[in-house]
Symmetry: C2
Subunit: 695 residues, 2 copies
């Protein structure tokens, strides 16, 4: 890449040097970083990781050095090239799903083919008949057609039942007529639709014989395969620039009485009978929920690596960045010179950053637990047993809401913890944050979702309260029933801690979170059932309930992982590694304590209000949080190293593994294309550019 500014080559940063500082940090670790990495990935995935990274890093098409300088037009063209190259690699290397996932992670490129792979193909697989798969799935897998998933409309998002696009059965011709009656019926936000897709799965209100059957999916060819122009009656466009995701062509689409064959209604579960137009309804409505649960559990897994990526940049840079001399404890170089204190040594910086490392590990154990539960559910449901569904649907909804909001806030906290340089695109935070943001809205708006969680929890609370004995056997296995019964038995439970260290007691910790969620729940049910408050008037409390429940799940899953002991048979690679290493177990215990106590402290009002904690205990709790920050300090850099986020993904001058922060900042700046022009600044001369300069 062209440098437009010649930087004097003899200059280097003032001492101490970044690489030396990171080396020192790495030497102070109390555990084996490679071992922790193995705990996180497992042997097989680690091999996969390196194999794929090697290919991606060495392919010139995927070179990211230019990306921060591109406007939307260039970025989009570049992304199409990357998408095409990725397809070639998938075919050449015969990548499986897991391998492709690694490739997509490293590429970090939400692009126009994303919905094709992530939504169009899975929906065909899940809802298509064998004939439909023959017709659409095979060309889709070969990228002869590109699909998108058109559900959201200009006027409707979360309320799918309210969609306006119609699909009316016309018995005379055995067709459906897809139509957009209003401007607000326009499909909107549809990834890959704007410029790319040839086909769409369109969610439309099914109408037949004058009756409405609600939203159903239809396959519609939307563009000519030769000219790539929209087919007659279909208006399509890209919806314009966004906060992030600008390499994706989110699109809009209007239909004017467009006919498709009856064959194109996705008919694995329900269909319209030929000629009669009779609606044949699905065997049960639990199928869709299974997929939703899976997608949400993947989002939680995504949170873990998102937090890891943000923390990696902020922690490494904070170890290198120095600011002010701490007069109580001045830092010296080996030659005795006093230098400014590393910002990572300031309590405030630790308080801002270390809990984010802990959050990432908390999400690791919870996403494992979610996956295990999902697998169990899938086994049971194939035998027609759906008893787990309500619980895992409620918890996965709430966890999606809680953890994605946490991730967005934590990326931004990490960015701001990098001071001014966090605002530069070269920090690696800007595009990263912008592209991650939609996670709080899609797959269920984070506020709307909490209503689903709380509704289930309240139902359970009423059920258990009515007949506690019936549920006593589920104590210890069902977390919701456990905390409700404990609360009913002992509604005035108090925390017994008398020293900061007492707060490390895992039983104290679990009780605190159980008491708090049950208290909130009991109160809300009382207000609705006895004080006759409307659901709408309770929405703020409802949100609190969902968060408290899901924080409890995160806490419980982290603690449970640590509570195995080596006598037990463990069929889990990660837990085996954890429990065979004293040093790993020790550092994970510190992180678990920090996660639990920091979470508690942030919402201390609820623990005080539920009268589990007293005022003076709240102060002890806070002291213990600060003690844990000190405990974690020597391991901070190694803890983020263990996440193994490659430089190729970080794309960050601040977070790179080798610590060459300042050299990279100025090198990348010299490549800014604006540096290739010379301005005319005279206000009386309307010509703004004197000339394009070249070095």
């Amino acid at each position: 890449m062209t440098s437009y500014v010649k930087i004097p080559s003899h200059l280097r940063p003032s001492d101490p040097q970044g690489p030396d500082l990171l080396t020192q940090e790495r030497e102070s670790a109390s555990f084996d970083v490679k071992e922790l990495t193995l705990l996180l990935y497992g042997i097989k995935d680690l091999e996969r990781y390196h194999k794929i990274l090697n290919i991606i890093e060495n392919d010139p098409v995927f070179d990211k050095t230019n990306i921060y300088f591109m406007g939307r037009d260039k970025l989009f063209e570049y992304t199409i090239k990357k998408e095409k190259r990725l397809v070639q690699l998938i075919k050449e290397n015969k990548w499986n799903v897991e391998e492709l996932q690694y490739a997509e992670w490293f590429l970090d490129m939400p692009g126009p083919f994303g919905a094709h792979r992530g939504m169009f193909i899975p929906t065909l697989i899940g809802h298509g008949t064998e004939e439909q798969k023959k017709k659409f799935l095979i060309p889709a897998k070969n990228y002869q057609i590109i699909g998108c998933y058109a559900q959201t409309e200009l006027g409707h998002g979360s309320n799918v039942q309210g969609l306006e696009t119609t699909s009316t059965y016309i018995p005379e011709t055995d067709e459906f007529e897809i139509h957009s009656p209003f401007l607000t019926s326009s499909k909107w936000w549809i990834g890959g639709l704007g410029r790319t897709a040839t086909h769409a799965i369109v969610m439309a209100q099914l109408k037949s014989n004058g009756k409405d059957y609600g939203p159903h999916p239809f396959i519609v060819q939307i563009r000519d395969l030769e000219t790539h122009l929209p087919l007659p009656g279909i208006t399509i466009g890209d919806i314009g620039p966004k906060f992030g995701f600008n390499a994706t062509d989110n699109g809009f689409m209007l239909f004017e009485h467009v006919r498709i064959p009856r064959f194109n209604m996705l008919s694995k579960y329900c269909q319209i009978e030929k000629a009669t137009g009779k609606y044949i309804s699905p065997p049960n409505d639990k199928i869709n929920y299974g997929i939703m649960v899976l997608i949400r559990s993947l989002i939680v897994t995504g949170v873990r690596v998102t937090l890891a990526r943000a923390a990696t940049i902020a922690i490494r840079y904070s170890a290198i960045r120095r600011q002010f001399i701490d007069k109580d404890e001045p830092k010296k170089l080996k030659d005795g010179r006093i230098v400014e204190t590393s910002v990572l040594d300031y309590t405030m910086q630790q308080y801002r950053l270390f809990p984010i490392i802990a959050q990432s590990y908390a999400c690791f154990f919870t996403s494992k637990a979610m996956n295990n539960l999902y697998t169990k559910y899938m086994e049971q449901s194939s035998d027609g047993n759906y008893s787990l569904l309500a619980d895992i649907h409620a918890s996965s909804s709430g966890l999606k809401s809680l953890t994605t909001t946490m991730a967005v806030e934590s990326i931004e906290d990490c960015r701001r913890a990098c001071g001014g340089h966090g605002y530069s695109s070269f920090s690696g935070f800007v595009k990263f944050y912008q592209d991650y943001l939609p996670n709080t809205t899609w797959e269920g708006d984070n506020y709307v979702l909490t209503q689903q969680t709380a509704r289930y929890l309240m139902k359970t609370f009423r059920k258990v309260t009515k007949n506690p004995k019936k549920y006593a056997s589920q104590i210890g296995t069902n977390p919701t029933i456990t905390y409700i019964l404990q609360y009913l038995n002992e509604p005035n439970q108090k925390c017994m801690a008398t020293t900061p260290l007492n707060f490390n007691n895992q039983e104290f910790q679990l009780k605190a979170f159980r008491h708090r969620i049950a208290y909130l729940l009991a109160n809300a049910v009382d207000q609705i059932d006895n004080q006759k408050k409307s659901w709408n008037s309770m929405l703020v409390e409802i949100n609190r309930i969902s968060h408290a429940h899901c924080q409890y799940l995160l806490v419980q899953n982290f603690i449970t992982a640590l509570q195995y002991n080596s006598q037990q048979q463990i069929n889990d690679e990660s837990l085996n590694i954890l429990h065979n290493s004293t040093s790993l177990k020790k550092v994970m215990t510190s992180l678990c304590n920090l996660f639990v106590l920091h979470t508690m402290e942030k919402d201390v009002g609820e623990f005080l209000e539920s009268e589990y904690l007293t005022s003076s205990q709240a102060r002890l709790l806070r002291t213990q949080v600060y003690n844990l920050l000190k405990e974690i300090r020597p391991n901070a850099v190694s803890l983020v190293d263990a996440f193994l986020i490659p430089d190729a993904l970080l794309s960050s001058a601040l977070g790179r593994y080798d610590g060459k922060v300042y050299e990279t900042m100025i090198d990348w700046a010299s490549k800014e294309p604006l540096n290739g022009i010379i301005l005319n600044i005279d206000p009386n001369n309307n010509n703004t550019i004197l000339e394009k300069a070249k070095l």
Copy 2:
């Protein structure tokens, strides 16, 4: 502007229509919107507002319709054009400072000339001798030279004392030698430096006769006035793309033994004597603080309009956007059809948005109070009386930190409250948020600043505790002394509220905030003085203290404004309007209560921990917050209308005054330039673009 997609012209949004909904909302107001607008602006400023808006709106150079589609290169060129046009208008219309401020606000264009007007010229005025002004200020005001302010370096921001650039006096030639000894010494983030400025005020470590005198300002010509190329020994470049501010050329700069005449050290207050190199020190160091206080008070004023702008978009769109049918209270059209409920009717949405309206009004009264205090200080200081300085410096630092963090969070809360469409650039939130963000870092990092505030408060606490009687006379005039003395007299004060409505009592409210800050302060002083905790270990508490103090100031200023009565002589246009209108006073009282109680509720842990509130009172408090939301609901749209944020500034499809949300969204989308290309998506064909299409 070109439309690339033809939208069927017969389509309109489904009922109810946006304009009708806003009309209904406006009809339900309990007060006169024009009267409230007058309260906010005053007669003179309102005239100025309309005069300037009329010019800006009708100048084709300032047309913003294209702006969301521009990459950095085009945006920068366009901004230079706007800057030049603005200079022409300033000269043609002879705008004064206030008029220019309105123009800059409406233009909403942080650009390359910003630092010239905002930093370079004011520093010349404040620190230049008469001869220096003659030489530099006159051409600067004529835009014959363009200046920037080069303080921050690649390795140093907040710690100005640690800057590395040196300026060494050379008696032999009567010059200074400006030099960058390290890569980290490079000036960095300097607005207008990258491509534009011809001159810079460079902050450099002054050295003379082998002694160091700390950072001082020097004027350096950095580019040739003809060729606009950097002068010999100076390396300059733009630092590259950022989260926002991409129309500004923030730059970097390295010096290699660059000589400037002794004359160029800004010498109003201190200088180097010719030949001897003797340092003549400034009369006192309080001058700089005065300017810093002023800049920070302007930032708080900026917060008010920032919050107003964000709330305007979110409230108007929430009145139009409908989602789900509230089963407890379904909404009907005039013709009886049940329609989905406006999201503004959901408690959660009100809880997210109404406090932001209240925050804006809180900032209005506090920025007025800060300005009054600043004026008083300037009067006193011209007589050599600096007694107010420590207090207003501490409070303005903390208020800058608290309110800008609040503004950033509130813009983002408003954006997310707009659901998916908040993510579109057309929401008007994206560029707005991105450009506002640096406010949390510049003019003092928001975390570092709170240390200054807390340090002063602790000092005061110690002073007052030692000798309470000495300070008794200042109860009621000095807020800090007032709450400290009240706490010392009654450290176990309790809240007397027994009903939700009791929380509207302004004396209860003030006591709550006084007790809480004094409690935090007493605790922190105890930990430092008696338990010998280090400053570093207390940084989290220090941040809390500053926030609690500044929240108290916001609360107190709001309540004080409402507590005037018509018997009193009021020399204040706004307060006169407020106290002559029962309806205005009523709605402002609701907003004040909401501001106070919502702030209290968000940090309820601290009020519980200080044992001012009991657990059951915390529940009453929350109930009262919900009651206030209901009270404010009918006035919501009119309250944001009163802010009078023009459509030209909002640049928002969602927030426009006429409510044509969906029509505008699709119209703007049709203009996305990507819609002018046709793709080749075949993975086996490396040509990505089939053709550039035109409608």
